[in-house]
């Protein structure tokens, strides 16, 4: 089937439609996205402050600082790889997004185990189901702000694999929530960290794939 080029009328329509819907420039968009991410983070930090703010809460200070540094490192790397698009408008390679979605929870567990090796008494510190559920609730609450912010940053941006990107974004948001609750929660047994702080990361990765994916996908606008 041969094709003529698009008509001049179509060109005029597209240019007129673009003119009628002014979009901000790159620099203005950068400021806007930074503001949205800041608001999302501040909301989570407000929740963290409301529940007492970062504190060792009975944990050894050195352990607290070590675990905070390790988790922060994991979360920052995951944010860079999972939310950023690199130098391509189509985002980072799918393999990298898979790694972020699947390995961020695992990396957080490994970080906890490494810290536990240095402070063996922390590994078997007792905790209850109630403790687990409370941390899941609070961690999830503090992950919502980052999730909404990251979904805004990446909205309408992925025409190829939006659900995969959504999963990566969800895992990153969940990891931020996990980090915030890790900074506050005094329970440091591996069991509690996995069930109370890391499980929400997995849940948010799944939620990101299902919900954020539709926001992130390129869609037909009427």
């Amino acid at each position: 089937m041969s094709t003529q080029g698009p008509s001049a009328d179509l060109r005029a329509r597209v240019l007129a439609a673009a003119s009628a819907e002014p979009m901000p420039t790159r620099s203005a968009g950068l400021v806007r996205r930074a503001a949205v991410v800041a608001v999302g983070m501040v909301l989570s930090l407000l929740v963290l402050a409301y529940i007492g703010g970062p504190q060792p809460d009975g944990r050894p200070i050195a352990y607290f600082l070590t675990i905070a540094a390790l988790w922060t490192g994991v979360v920052l790397v995951a944010s860079w790889a999972g939310v950023g698009r690199g130098k391509s408008m189509l985002g980072r390679p799918a393999s990298m997004r898979w790694i972020v979605a699947a390995l961020t929870p695992a990396a957080l567990v490994v970080a906890t185990l490494l810290a536990g090796l240095c402070w063996p008494a922390t590994i078997s510190e007792p905790s209850t189901i109630h403790d687990h559920l409370l941390c899941i609730e609070l961690g999830s609450l503090m992950a919502i702000g980052p999730l909404v912010a990251f979904a805004f940053v990446r909205r309408d941006s992925d025409p190829v694999a939006p659900r995969l990107t959504g999963a990566a974004v969800g895992a990153v948001a969940g990891a931020w929530g996990g980090l915030f609750i890790e900074l506050r929660c005094g329970h440091c047994s591996v069991e509690h960290v996995v069930l109370g702080h890391v499980v929400p990361v997995v849940v948010f990765a799944l939620a990101g794939a299902l919900i954020a994916g539709s926001v992130i996908s390129v869609r037909h606008h009427k």
Partner: protein, 254 residues
């Protein structure tokens, strides 16, 4: 001179200065020859684009600035604040996207609607456009996504090759050569329509749209090796289905 488009290329028929059936569009013949042994078909590429050709596929090198395409440079300017540059982005992308969409939908109004949506998506991404990013694979990926969505919404009609009007068909009386070439085009379309979608899309993005294998991989969200394999399988299917024609050309006796 009459032109038909088997393999998504324009073939010039009845031109005394060239062979009876030659690819005459600006598609990268050398790349094709390297990647797929295209020239083993016995169809020599024509160096010049056919005058008045209806195919608007352009070579990657046309309009390149410092190794970047005209579309890349224009989009950068648009994102940086030059409102007028969007017209340049449109001019650089629209013909290729339109050709792709018409071939996929077989329906000009739908192709126009999808092209408009694609260009408006690009416009809406102005604030998030990454400096130095490539526009072409991104634009094709958007077009493909919108196309897939429109199919999912049930707006796609069954692809039909038989009896389909060809808007580029010449009103001249049909010559035997033209009929033969048109039949060949139909056979190619028919074979492509029967291929798995993944193979057909890989083949068409590379052969019809002139994307590199790496760009096609980006558009399809898969690896370069997978795209090569899919395109090669499509090529082999075409080769198998059109062996008699190929043999005729290779023997110099079409």
């Amino acid at each position: 001179m009459t032109k038909v488009r088997p393999f998504g290329l324009t073939y010039v028929v009845g031109d005394a200065t060239v062979a009876k059936l030659q690819p005459a569009s600006g598609v990268h013949a050398s790349m094709e020859a390297q990647a797929f042994g295209w020239l083993t078909f016995g169809l020599a590429p024509v160096a010049r684009p056919a005058r008045g050709t209806s195919v608007l596929v352009t070579k990657r090198s046309e309009g390149d600035v410092d190794g970047r395409s005209a579309a890349d440079a224009a989009m950068d300017r648009y994102a940086a604040g030059d409102d007028a540059a969007f017209a340049l982005v449109y001019d650089a992308l629209a013909p290729r996207l339109y050709g792709y969409l018409v071939r996929q939908t077989r329906e000009v109004p739908r192709a126009e609607d999808l092209l408009q949506q694609t260009m408006l998506q690009i416009h809406r991404a102005r604030s998030s456009f990454i400096a130095g990013a490539e526009v072409t694979p991104w634009a094709f990926a958007i077009a493909r996504r919108l196309l897939v969505d429109s199919v999912r919404r049930g707006r796609r009609e069954a692809l039909g090759v038989e009896g389909e009007p060809d808007p580029g068909a010449s009103p001249e009386p049909l010559a035997d050569e033209w009929v033969a070439a048109r039949d060949l085009a139909k056979r190619v379309d028919s074979v492509l329509a029967k291929l798995p979608q993944s193979q057909r899309q890989a083949f068409e993005l590379i052969k019809n749209e002139g994307l590199s294998v790496a760009e096609a991989a980006q558009v399809l969200g898969t690896t370069v090796a997978a795209v090569k394999l899919r395109a090669h399988r499509a090529y082999e299917a075409l080769r198998g289905a059109l062996g008699d024609v190929i043999g005729g050309f290779e023997g110099g006796n079409p």
